[in-house]
């Protein structure tokens, strides 16, 4: 048994040392595998970053109320009368003054100019109720101050400011004929709210001719379990044809569509490229076996078995694959991780997000590389193991 392992170790060592004789072919395999991994990981990091930004935005103890069937805030309408009925609903937490903690909100799309392309893009302008910022996690003004109620002032999300121009602190922005002053910049724990512009609900309502109408109502619940109470209250009131969801599940739905799409693009592309890389790896490994035919036959002639030759060849292929996989992961990390991008989200407005790699994603990338290496090495390794000794000795 021990001698078999010694044989395997010796054959593997010979294999790995001979890589330098085929350096260009081996290098091309490594790079091919690295490129496959880069393409896969770039897409997965994009989907992951988008998912984290949106799915991380929602809380379990915040209820969001939309018109039934509207799916996204932008489509929804809720009348002032409905807001009053909701206010009296069960399960809604109350402040120290006894008022319900709710925020009726208006969600409008305005034009902004993207810094990189100088093209128009849809930005969300959200008119929020008095409690609006308290109903969101970790909202903090990082520069300037909060808008004053009743005035034409806006605060701008940190991410939005970074990607779109003309929204700097102190500047005046026009949305159509209306003019607004940017008085503050806010952060919101990396959530999608950082891609928004906030203003006072009543000012937005009057300047955009949306009096008596809002789009959504957010409410702080007494606890996540209170959601069902509010839901059945709404379902049983014929005046309210509304959907009541937890904010967390609302955002999870929003995130899944786009990130599914990105993943659905990424995997088939990576698999197609991986097939190409498998062809490349097979080629390299068959050349390796052919180049070492004499060597392998010599080893066999002096008593080595077929198994060490098999392991040696497979080990060479797997090594090339691991190097390629790690190289690809490292390159993706250096090029893409933290890269800011923005795209249209479920609400028809721009969502700013960062590409985000995770250890699990890197593992997926390296796994794909290993599969390429395994398939690419398996058949040449079988050939090496079965090589007839006499033929091998006269190979050259």
């Amino acid at each position: 048994m021990r001698s078999l392992w010694l044989q395997v170790a010796a054959a593997t060592a010979i294999n790995l040392k001979s890589i330098s004789q085929r350096r260009w072919l081996s290098l091309s395999t490594v790079i091919a595998i690295a490129l496959v991994v880069i393409v896969l990981l770039a897409f997965l990091a994009m989907a992951n970053g988008f998912q984290r930004t949106i799915a991380g935005s929602g809380a379990d103890d915040i209820a969001i109320v939309l018109r039934a069937g509207s799916q996204a805030e932008i489509n929804s309408t809720v009348s002032r009368d409905q807001v009053r009925v909701i206010e009296d609903g069960p399960g809604i937490a109350r402040g120290s003054d006894g008022k319900p903690l709710i925020s009726p909100e208006l969600y409008l799309v305005v034009d902004g100019i993207k810094r990189t392309t100088k093209t128009k893009a849809n930005l969300p302008l959200r008119g929020i109720g008095e409690q609006g910022s308290e109903l969101r996690k970790d909202v903090r003004i990082t520069a300037g101050r909060m808008f004053n109620r009743g005035s034409n002032e806006v605060v701008v999300g940190k991410a939005l400011l970074r990607e779109f121009e003309g929204l700097d602190l102190g500047s005046t922005v026009s949305f159509g004929a209306t003019r607004w002053t940017v008085v503050g910049v806010f952060e919101a724990g990396g959530s999608v709210f950082e891609s928004e512009i906030w203003a006072d609900l009543s000012v937005v309502q009057s300047l955009f001719n949306r009096n008596n109408i809002v789009q959504t109502v957010r409410a702080r619940l007494t606890g996540p379990a209170a959601l069902n109470e509010l839901k059945s209250y709404s379902d049983n009131d014929p005046r309210l044809k509304l959907d009541v969801k937890s904010e967390a599940s609302y955002f999870a739905e929003q995130a899944s569509q786009t990130s599914d799409l990105i993943q659905k693009l990424g995997w088939p592309l990576a698999i197609a490229m991986a097939l190409g890389a498998v062809a490349g790896a097979l080629n390299t490994m068959y050349s390796s076996v052919a180049a070492r035919a004499t060597e392998i036959a010599t080893l066999r002639a002096i008593g080595f078995g077929g198994f060490p030759a098999f392991v040696g060849t497979l080990a060479e292929s797997l090594l090339l694959a691991v190097i390629g996989g790690l190289l690809g992961a490292a390159a993706t990390y250096l090029i893409f991780d933290g890269l800011t991008a923005s795209t249209l989200g479920g609400n028809f407005t721009q969502v700013v997000f960062d590409f985000k790699l995770s250890p699990w994603l890197i593992a997926e990338g390296v796994m794909l590389a290993l599969i390429v290496g395994l398939i690419g090495g398996l058949f040449p390794a079988l050939r090496a193991a079965r090589l007839p000794i006499v033929e091998g000795l006269y190979a050259n």
């Binding site: 004929a177 490229m273 190409g276 062809a279 490349g280």
Partner: protein, 386 residues
């Protein structure tokens, strides 16, 4: 045996190696075909845009409404041949997942503005104009749901509700619209704005956007300036742009799709270039002696150069052409499911030609170094080696 036979025999001397290279080239061109086809379909609106067509939207954003009164005022602007308008409906059929690209349109003018793209038989158009509760459905959409003329369908909106409560509008299909060219997307449903406006519970007398046709593209700038100046300082200022510019800006909102496509195709090609280039070099090196023999027999250097290049180009074509063919099949299979994002997804003749050019380039690039080496090879060295 002519030179071509020799090239072919050389290529397939190691069948496995040749097949593997053909497979990897096939995959690269498959990726190229699918992505180029997707990109073309995604930006089809831009290319299809007529030069004399312009879009007027609310200056705040194109999702903001404007008063219907603007329609008549724009009609009177000098240099405007025809104008029509539309309103986004947010349609779906039966389940919110079944999105329907539905618009409430001005029935008398819409098909005139789009006459070079959309074809509706005159009698169907007449029926549409006569019947307030009717709809014209694009061919692709009609096929998707099996709708026929005379069918009555319930169309839901995720935005609007009826005055009577409920979010469903019942519409009778009276016409099927066909695209006049392959790139025209017919995945839409159009119904009468007057009916929509009178039954909806809010937003009365507002429209989404206007589409206008100028008397000549030269008038575009002047017409745009006149219209936007007309509504300046009103509560709904406008922004008028050519259809092409509008489509381009909208496509850009999804992110830099062109760059992503370019990077992926680039990565696939670099991979193939390296693998094939190296393997070609290897296989020519193995044949050094033979090349020496050919030279001894009187084959000239340039002739050998051509033969080696011929071999690598043949390899690229053998992989690339089936690759593009598979891409065309994939595009056909995905066309319906991607109809909303990339209508008329196909590998067009232009893409096929670009692919062909790329194949030849790939063949020449991967073959050039081994070919030059083979050409310069001295007989004595060649025969002495190995």
């Amino acid at each position: 045996m002519n030179d071509f036979d020799l090239v072919r025999k050389n290529l397939f001397r190691r069948k496995l190696r040749a097949s593997l290279m053909i497979v990897s080239i096939l995959i690269a061109f498959m990726i190229f075909g699918v992505l180029a086809g997707f990109y073309r379909a995604f930006t089809a609106g831009e290319d299809a845009a007529a030069a004399d067509r312009m879009i007027t939207v609310n200056k705040i954003n194109f999702t903001q409404p404007m008063p219907i009164a603007y329609f008549n005022r724009v009609k009177a602007v000098e240099g405007v041949r025809q104008v029509t308008f539309a309103n986004w409906f947010g349609g779906y059929y039966q389940d919110p997942k079944n999105f329907i690209m539905a618009l409430a349109i001005e029935p008398n003018t819409y098909f005139d503005v789009y006459r070079s793209e959309i074809d509706v038989p005159p009698e169907q158009l007449q029926a549409f104009i006569r019947d307030r509760g009717s709809a014209v459905v694009g061919e692709t959409l009609a096929q998707k749901w099996g709708w026929k003329i005379g069918d009555r369908i319930p169309l839901n909106s995720n935005i609007f509700s009826q005055k009577s409560g409920g979010h469903t509008w019942d519409l009778t299909i009276v016409g099927i619209a066909k695209g006049k060219a392959q790139h025209v997307d017919t995945n839409f449903l159009l119904f009468q704005y007057p009916y929509f406006d009178e039954t909806r519970s809010f937003g009365k007398d507002t429209i989404g956007w206007m589409i206008l046709q100028t008397t000549s593209p030269e008038n575009n700038d002047r017409v745009a300036k006149t219209i936007d100046a007309m509504f300046a300082n009103s509560t709904a200022e406008t922004s008028t742009d050519t259809e092409k510019a509008f489509g381009k800006a909208f496509a850009a909102q999804f992110g830099n799709i062109a760059l992503i496509v370019l990077l992926v195709v680039g990565a696939a090609f670099i991979t193939i270039l390296m693998i094939v280039g190296n393997t070609m070099a290897l296989s020519i090196r193995e044949r050094t002696r033979e090349i020496g023999v050919l030279k001894t027999l009187g084959f000239s250097g340039p002739r050998i150069l051509t033969m080696v290049l011929g071999e690598s180009v043949l390899l690229a074509l053998l992989g690339g052409i089936p690759g593009l063919a598979i891409a065309a099949l994939i595009a056909m299979a995905l066309r319906t499911s991607l109809a909303n994002i990339a209508p008329a997804f196909a590998v067009s003749p232009t893409i096929a030609l670009q692919g062909l050019a790329l194949m030849i380039a790939l063949g020449l690039i991967t073959g050039i170094i081994p070919a030059l080496n083979a050409m310069r090879l001295k007989i004595a060295t060649a025969l002495g080696r190995g």
